[in-house]
Amino acid sequence: MSVGDYIRNSQIWRSVFRHPAPTDRRNRVVVMLTNFFLHLHPVSVKQQGIALSYTWCMGGITFFLFLVETITGVLLMFYYRPTLEWAFYDIQALRDVQTLGIMREIHRWGAHAMVITVWLHMYRVFLTGSYKPPREFNWVIGVLLLVLTLLLSFTGYLLPWDQLAIWAITVGSNMARATPFLGMEGPGFQLLNTSGYELITNASDAKFLLLGGRFVGEATLNRFYILHCVAIPVVVSGLIAIHFWRVRKDGGISQPL
């Protein structure tokens, strides 16, 4: 008996994997049904539905990048304190002091890549007409995922707390000030300020809500940190789960009828 067979027949191995090695047809079916990670997939699929030239694998790559971002992000959190005093210097130390420290690089480039792949995924879904019935609602979930991906990237952009970061966020969040009715420089906000009671001021408008202050400062850093590391990832994970579930329930990857 080879070492490999010995290991695969040990009690420990068999307690972890609920199935024999997938070497014959029966076990290749069983493995898909009994493994937690694999059961996201069906047992068998149409050949063209999984062809790289058809799906471009972009949804899968986006998901993979999301996982990469989660893992590298957790590692970065070990080194990073979201305060005005430390944020910048923690990032700087990550660059200058850590041996083999490329987690920040992978996290940043992975984020850029994820934005691009999510667009390409949408591009492919559109061009194959895969949003058509019965997949309409999964497209809508997809659009939500697209927004959240951009917001994840946007909130993360602030965290290094360098010039690039705060001014990009300042430019971006200045838009909130112009929200119709709800922003200090948006059309119609005066309508909410009638009869002497000021509802919309620069300490209560949409921009203030986003930044937690009148300009990008400590409160903003804290707010964006929590959005970036907790709130948005949790929502995205939930939506991805629904997205995948819908792909299966809507009949798998789209095919010509």
Binding site: R25, Q47, G60, I91, L150, Y157, Q163, G188, P256
Partner: protein
């Protein structure tokens, strides 16, 4: 004398040496492919010869760059100055840029049979890579393209072009199949296969390749970290993160409430509405252009010129004070661009025979002053849809019903407002169609 803005340095030459080496290998592979599938010219010479010649040119280019790395100043292979001046003088203008990008899309659709041929596409790729390589011998070009955060955008351009190519190639193929009554590409060889091993292994390989790619990228290119944040030192230009630069570019034409709030919301709402507007049952689950030419053209228009091209514009071509700079132009803080834009109301009320711009700050006076613009805007969004529905878009109106058609036509009109405003700015130096700064209501 020391040149502070050297076009060519020894490290640039070494880098380009590697660059052309990669081009050499790409073209060698292509030569092999061509030898196998492309056949011969009428005189019996294999067509692959052309690619063999191209490869040897790249080999010489590469060798020339490596061996001249010590005498960079006198190195001759660089983008000719007259060409740079030509580009900067004639294309450094947002309207021309935008019109060109639309023309490109139009050409791409019209000539899809031609440019999706592998040989043509490969030649185009080679041309753009050589253009890129030559441009890299320019100091200012390198400054913008080489910023760490901008590198992915250059990559994105090539990737988007690649996938657009795949789409058109498969679509042209399927359209021909339908015309000839053959089954679709997606219907051939479409047996059921087991996910283990067919899909699981593809995924595994994808993950390994991607991981390797990310690690390589992470080592090769450091993440940027500028000076510590300072709320007093405003950088010029101040740019939003790159994926929002298309929106920031719209600020040139619209106030923040439109460009930054209303239009993004409409883009998202419009995207979500797509499956409920597109009633065409064809083209579900396979690539095709002919069977849904309108839907695809509209989406391509939204994605390529209006999204990707505007991001490129905002990232690479907008410099200090958000002025437009040619790709080989120095980002000069002192560049002045005359901006003598006027409001529609000013143009209208100074027409001969009219009493001149109404004064006064009462609501009535303001409304009177802006009435031409208000009427035009209302007409655009309220009168145009029914007219469209009864004329050019009649086909859609009949199949969609009133509500759906109104949503659809309004979304189309919203999509068109940026080009419309650009055109008006270009033709009449128009600033605002409706300008009520008193209430932050400018269109």
């Amino acid at each position: 004398m020391l040149n502070h803005y050297p076009d060519v340095t020894s490290s640039v030459l070494t880098g380009l040496g590697w660059y052309y080496l990669i081009l050499l290998f790409m073209n060698l592979l292509w030569t092999v492919r061509s030898y196998k599938v492309d056949g011969e010219f009428s005189n019996g010479v294999p067509k692959a010869t052309v690619w063999a010649v191209a490869s040897s040119i790249f080999m010489m280019m590469s060798a020339a760059h490596f061996s001249s790395a010590r005498s960079a100043e006198t190195f001759l292979i660089r983008m000719p100055v007259f060409f740079k001046d030509l580009v900067d003088a004639n294309f450094a203008n947002p309207v021309i840029y935008f019109v060109l990008s639309i023309a490109l899309l139009w050409g791409m659709i019209r000539l899809r049979e031609w440019w999706t041929k592998p040989t043509v596409a490969w030649s185009l790729l080679n041309i753009s890579l050589v253009f890129m390589g030559l441009s890299l011998t320019d100091y200012d070009f390198r400054q913008i393209v080489g910023k760490p955060d901008n590198v992915p955008i250059v990559g994105m351009l090539f990737i988007v072009a690649f996938f657009t190519w795949i789409y058109f190639r498969r679509a042209v193929d399927n359209d021909n199949r339908v015309a000839e009554g053959r089954p679709l590409f997606e219907q051939e060889n479409n047996e059921k296969v087991l996910v283990w091993p067919d899909l699981v292994y593809t995924e595994l390989i994808c993950m390994v390749v991607l991981t390797a790619f990310l690690i390589f990228w992470g080592i090769a290119l450091k993440a940027p970290l500028e000076e510590p944040a300072s709320s007093v030192k405003t950088p010029n230009p101040s740019k939003a993160p790159w994926y929002f630069l298309g929106l920031q570019e719209m600020l040139v034409y619209f106030d923040p409430w439109l460009a930054g709030v209303v239009l993004p919301s409409i883009i998202l709402g419009g995207l979500m509405a797509v499956p409920y507007i597109d009633f065409n049952k064809k083209g579900n689950g396979y690539y095709t252009f002919k069977e849904r030419s309108f839907a695809v053209s509209t989406f391509l228009f939204g994605f390529l010129p209006l999204w990707v091209a505007l991001i490129v514009l905002g990232t690479f071509l907008r410099g200090p004070n958000w002025n437009f700079f040619g790709i080989y132009e120095l980002w000069d803080v002192h560049k002045v661009e005359a901006a003598n834009n006027v409001n529609l109301s000013e143009i209208f009320w100074s027409l001969p025979g009219l009493p001149g711009l109404p004064r006064g700050s009462s609501i009535g006076a303001i409304l009177l002053r802006e009435s031409p613009g208000i009427v035009l805007t209302l007409a655009y969004f309220a009168v145009l849809p029914p007219i469209l529905g009864l004329t050019v878009l009649r086909k859609y109106f009949v199949r969609m019903g009133v509500l759906r058609f109104l949503v659809f036509s309004n979304l189309l009109l919203w999509m068109a407002i940026l080009p419309v405003k650009m055109l008006l700015r270009w033709a009449f130096s128009l600033k605002y169609i409706v300008g009520i700064p008193e209430y932050f209501f400018n269109i």
